[in-house]
Symmetry: C2
Subunit: 233 residues, 2 copies
């Protein structure tokens, strides 16, 4: 019997959200040339400084995009869910990767060689425009995040991170637990704070009945207050 992973994996035409704007020829071309790659938990998919070789689509799993800053302190820039593209910014800007990407949990990535990706971008205007839309939204989010991370206080930043996680990965069947399990360290790297402070602030939120914790399981109890905390800084 096939691996559970493989049998559950959606085919590229279901994962690639820009599939609909491809011509029949392009579809065939992509189908013939894309490759599938599996990554273990915490495995690195690509590193800052490397030359970009592929446009990538997350087919299954969860990955983090992060930068190593001063004293190799890491800052998580964004987190991806299946169907989201990555690795293409550097190709388009003719730069090396300026972020690292690593798997939060076992993940599958579909990859398309840079030259193939570029040739479609250059020939299919609707395809090009879709990526323009995507990156325009990302830039807006990035600028917003800059201000949030620099101006809000610890509680505000952590509250924001929790809301972001819920928005991005949703809830489990119980309708309350955030559908991703992060280490305290990752949570800290997402919220621009030290691990100790993430732990401390999380405990405070529990004491104030804003969230509930069970190990890495996080439940949002009082969403209104969390939103208020995130807004006030």
């Amino acid at each position: 019997m096939a691996k559970r992973n493989t049998s559950e994996l959606k085919p590229i035409e279901d994962v690639l959200t820009v599939w609909d704007v491809l011509t029949p020829d392009e579809r065939q071309f992509v189908k013939n040339h894309f490759t599938t790659h599996y990554f273990k938990k915490n495995e690195i998919i690509h590193c800052e400084g490397e030359l970009p070789t592929h446009m990538m689509v997350l087919a299954a799993g969860k990955v983090k995009v992060y930068k190593e800053g001063v004293g190799s302190r890491t800052q998580i820039i964004r987190m991806l869910k299946p169907g989201e593209h990555f690795g293409y910014r550097a190709i388009i800007a003719s730069q090396t990767y300026n972020t690292n990407v690593a798997a939060f949990e076992p993940s599958t990535v579909y990859m398309l060689k840079a030259d193939i990706f570029l040739s479609i971008l250059r020939n299919n205007n609707a395809f090009c425009y879709r990526f323009l839309e995507e990156i325009a939204a990302d830039l807006g989010a990035s600028d917003a995040r800059t201000v949030n991370l620099t101006q809000k206080h610890i509680r505000g930043r952590l509250a924001e991170a929790l809301l972001l996680l819920r928005k991005n990965y949703g809830l489990e069947e119980d309708g309350a637990t955030i559908n991703i399990y992060l280490s305290r360290e990752d949570l800290a790297n997402l919220s621009n704070m030290t691990t100790s402070n993430a732990i401390r602030t999380l405990s405070n939120f529990v004491n104030e009945h804003i969230i509930a914790m069970d190990g890495r399981k996080l439940k949002i109890i009082d969403e209104e207050r969390l939103i208020k905390i995130s807004k006030m800084g």
Copy 2:
């Protein structure tokens, strides 16, 4: 005699860096439809939350792109020089503006209605790709800036801002003075710190013979040290 401003103003075909990929028809169309707008020092060009109506190109002058954060503390996101586009991100992402733009000094802006801009984007692949390239570079810069602003200490952030200003606006004829005059407040908003701290840190740099100051005139004396300070945080 015509205004000095007007007589020195470059025509749109010289300012618009994407002019070369336009077809003759498109060039004529743009020429017939673009409008010219003058802004006084500190005048606001567009505001956060407004619906975007035009793609804009800075024809002359200097402008700041900034966000109002917690307690209306402002953060300068980037600064533009002639030939740079703005206001188009929101159009493409179908969002309201997420930044404010205001003139640092008297500035001239060429504007092209959103629907015209979109119709060219959708019909001219090379044009679309140019904007994709531009925004891809901007996103890389934005993510880098996030980490710099969150992780570096005050001296590092100010050093970085000074280097950024020099890189962006260059030097005056004396080969040393940075070719833009900012208030201490703007400098603080660029470096994510309070005005007092910008002033204080600037004074320290003068005492250490890293820069020289004469009012708002800033000269970089010891570039190496400035780079080192900016890197170390």
